[in-house]
């Protein structure tokens, strides 16, 4: 058996209809990008789920560090003024 020859892992993103973003659908194995796209088409759009597909080698994705949740995502906390709901005095004014 040839364990070392396993095909690499790809992440699949599917756009479900025009105008929407590509959303992560899952992953699969394929020898290269061309086959990854085709496998993704067969695997993740068998029921009309998509109009466009992206595939990305799984190891090409850089991810934020889950252990630094606190500091990495702390800054937006408490900045309520970035949200429309912060501004209550204008409530009731039409078309605002």
């Amino acid at each position: 058996m040839s364990e070392s020859l396993g095909w690499p892992l790809w992440e699949v993103f599917v756009r479900s209809s025009r105008g929407l973003s590509h959303v992560h659908a899952g992953s699969l194995h394929a020898p290269d990008a061309a086959m990854a796209l085709r496998n993704a088409r067969d695997l993740y759009t068998r029921r009309n789920e998509g109009v466009s597909i992206w595939v990305v080698p799984a190891d090409a994705i850089a991810a934020s560090d889950p252990d630094s949740k606190g500091s990495f995502f702390e800054s937006p906390q408490g900045k309520d003024y970035r949200h429309a709901t912060y501004y209550v005095k204008s409530e009731g004014v039409k078309h605002l």
Partner: protein
């Protein structure tokens, strides 16, 4: 649910075999016997291939390929059902009566479609030849004077276009991958190329049908050119092998068809007249 947008499930609105059955029922689709005979040829090719490909599911070299071959088999089975439903209307028969209760000489499949799966390379070569042939055929049939044949072809040509791509991708990979894969692929081409000729043979029926059908010999040049482009990239020369005597269109079949039918028809024939 969070991923609802990526997993939306809808049935689609393409032409289905059930739509043909409805049209037949309402009398809007009424083939002559000649058109029925022609539809049988196309339907039997697709049916026998679907039967062959169906055997791969759970046996493919990788799980992704189980799914891919399954999709191709389902496409072919869909085309078969549409063509057979329409053909049956010429004699008052259903798709199942045609598929399960005809005898071997009454089938109209050509020999290439009946060839065994062999290894993955043989299956890919068979699919490669079939897909390029069917693509040229269906592409022209969309302009058929027979509206139902044209409608079935319009659905089928898009699906077969993908089969073409799938098999061409694999021809390249097997041809240029490893020594073993190349050896197996070349053996597949030598084994199956003799059956290519039969696909492009004209006869009285296609002549009589005029612009309702496609003249098989007219497809050959485009078939040769487009397969040639892939084969050049794959560094493969078309094997110099003599063409095999066909006869499938007249009911003279390979040794394989009898076994295919024995398996396919056994249950239905044990219970004639039953519904499933």
């Amino acid at each position: 649910m969070s991923e609802a947008s990526a997993t939306r499930i809808t049935p689609g609105n393409a032409l289905r075999p059930e739509d043909i059955a409805l049209a037949v029922q309402h009398g809007t689709a009424r083939p002559s016997e000649d058109v029925g005979e022609y539809a049988l040829r196309l339907g039997d090719d697709a049916l026998i291939l679907a039967q062959r490909l169906g055997h791969w599911i759970s046996r493919a070299p990788e799980l992704e390929e189980d799914v891919a071959l399954g999709n191709i088999a389902l496409d072919q089975l869909g085309h078969a059902r549409s063509f057979l439903t329409y053909a049956g209307a010429a004699w008052g028969k259903t798709e199942d009566e045609l598929a399960y209760f005809r005898r071997e000489p009454e089938f109209r499949s050509s020999h290439l479609f009946e060839q065994p799966n062999g290894d993955f390379a043989v299956t890919i070569v068979r699919q490669f030849i079939v897909s390029y042939y069917q693509y040229e055929l269906y592409r022209r049939l969309t302009a058929s004077a027979d509206a139902t044949l044209a409608a079935i072809a319009a659905k089928a040509v898009k699906e077969v276009d993908y089969h073409r791509d799938h098999s061409a991708q694999w021809v390249l990979r097997l041809a240029l991958g490893t020594e073993e894969s190349r050896r197996r692929l070349l053996a597949g081409f030598r084994l199956l190329w003799p059956y290519v000729g039969e696909l492009f043979e004209d006869d009285d029926l296609t002549a009589r049908l005029g612009d309702a059908a496609v003249v098989p010999s007219a497809l050959r040049a485009d078939f040769d050119q487009l397969t040639g482009e892939v084969l050049t990239e794959a560094e493969i020369e078309i094997p110099q092998v003599p063409a095999a005597l066909g006869g499938g269109r007249q009911g003279r079949h390979s040794e394989h068809l009898g076994f295919i039918l024995a398996e396919m028809q056994v249950l239905a024939r044990e219970h004639p007249g039953a519904d499933w």
